[in-house]
Symmetry: C2
Subunit: 365 residues, 2 copies
Amino acid sequence: MRVICLQENLKSNLNIAQNIIGRNLTLPILNNLLLETENNRLKISATNLEMGINTWTMGKIEKKGSITCPAKILAGFINNLPNKKIELEVKNNNLMIKCENYKANLKGLPAEDFPIIPKIKEPILADIKIGVLKDGLSQVVGSAALSELRPEISGILFVFEKNNLKLVATDSFRLAEKTVFEINKKTDFNQLIVPQRTIQELIRILSEKEGELRIISDGSQVLFETEGVQLVSRLIDGKYPDYQQIIPKDFNLQATIEREQLLNVVRIAGIFSSKINDVKFSLQSGRLEVLSQDPDLGENKSQLEAKIKGKGLEISFNYRYLLDGLGNIATKEIFLGLNNESSAAIIRPVGDDSYLYVVMPIKTT
Amino acid sequence: MRVICLQENLKSNLNIAQNIIGRNLTLPILNNLLLETENNRLKISATNLEMGINTWTMGKIEKKGSITCPAKILAGFINNLPNKKIELEVKNNNLMIKCENYKANLKGLPAEDFPIIPKIKEPILADIKIGVLKDGLSQVVGSAALSELRPEISGILFVFEKNNLKLVATDSFRLAEKTVFEINKKTDFNQLIVPQRTIQELIRILSEKEGELRIISDGSQVLFETEGVQLVSRLIDGKYPDYQQIIPKDFNLQATIEREQLLNVVRIAGIFSSKINDVKFSLQSGRLEVLSQDPDLGENKSQLEAKIKGKGLEISFNYRYLLDGLGNIATKEIFLGLNNESSAAIIRPVGDDSYLYVVMPIKTT
């Protein structure tokens, strides 16, 4: 293999690929990137067996071939080179790199030993605008369960409907749902549960891309594909809970509150909250009081104006869940819908029906 | 105690003071800040028994008094308040805080139980411009020994000479010396060894201050004082090594090299270096080659132009020490002075005699 390409192009693709590589002692080739020529491009691949990434870099292919070499050291070296032409050449299972007055020689492992990243030969499930998908995923990804005790909720649910895509995540204490409209659905396939780690990786990749993303799945794997990059991941096998039933539709108390102010008050209350992170909301005619106390440190109370319909209520929440939900919203005001001290509350951006956040209260007594 | 002051002023002093507070389980009052009225100001103090900080905030003192209360929670609360008037009041050993629609009540401990921060009643040792001292300390502080196996080199040496102050730090593998001139020496006192942690704290405090710093010492404690802030610290007892003798004065090889380029080349070599962090310099007529290799990963070689006087030499260094030294220099070119592969090398900014960095080579064979 002998390839010449620009540092800038190579660097960006190396960084996309190497991010999923951990430190694998039992299977050292997983610490490596696979480099191979493909038509007139250099293909760089990485896998951690749960997900794989393929990227393609434009370059001059002087000789076909392939090799794998250590990801961190290759990316570290290329990142520090000037933005000039880089020459990559495979010799005796080593990758020789030259760029102006810099030279390196990396020990490789044979490309044949690199795990195969699955190819999914199915029709396109949907096309979707990258910007809206990335923003939508960012609003829900943090609400998925961190543990895999219940694997089905450790991922993000994609529900493909006729003209929209619903993105859902929950850890059973809170739930986020975002509806994304700029989607072009192409088959009848309708649900995927994608691991949280894959979605974090996808958000990272998409933040540097524009245009459309293709989604392809065979039911056990999913492929996200855009110009020059593919992300392939296993799907989570399981039945996502019927989450619609826990979203309250009617409310005994409806409040409209300025978001920034509420965020600040909840943040302050968090400083004083006890070990279970509880802060107490007390809502009545025209105002919200937020209280918290730590028996050893002290207590605090803040007041906010709020437009309130319905009768007064006291209810406690984990302030971290509130901060997460409020942090995913960008509107000036939020709607808070409550029923009683022990049933789920809903938070919605005022004037934007595409997002909702459900949070369970803490029963304090 | 009843005091009214502005959030902005209080916040800045709380943050200066609370930074030295760790998490002390055996002596809980060390987690607290001492607040007390002093003339027309609110004095806030913190101590970790190694060093203490006093700050003074302007305010309206409506009732004299004092209290101690948990530092992190007090600073956390005040930081999140709007920049408005804050009312602080002591009631039944609690600190009540009010600011617009925010209220808090912090459990206090009696001011009498707070450890005394020593007062040093000695004449002023020296006055010095804050900017030059802060910059000078930043150039040496990272070279002090991290362990306290040899306590005398775990601190930064201050040598007060007639018209200048020398700041020195070494961990026996490398040494940094900075000479600072804008100093007004007032007594005959001439050496202090100040703990590294104190210097890090001093740099942090000075980065928000201007004007002059007063240095006062009784030989066992030192006081750094500027407008509204005092930092008091124990000194390190011991004899600093006679470091001048290890600074080479004559060289068999003198090189002048562009600093940014050298930094980049050393950084790259670091990626490939083995466990002992060694990178090899090979200098001869007009050029420097930097080489490194890790037996498992590969090797690299970079070339730089260098003006070289004297005969060629190969010498190995710990690349981290080189990065530290080069990072402390801002000039376009550096001077590198060498004698042989096993004796100390010197790095100096070209055109600035106030700084020098000595680094011991690694004997690789």
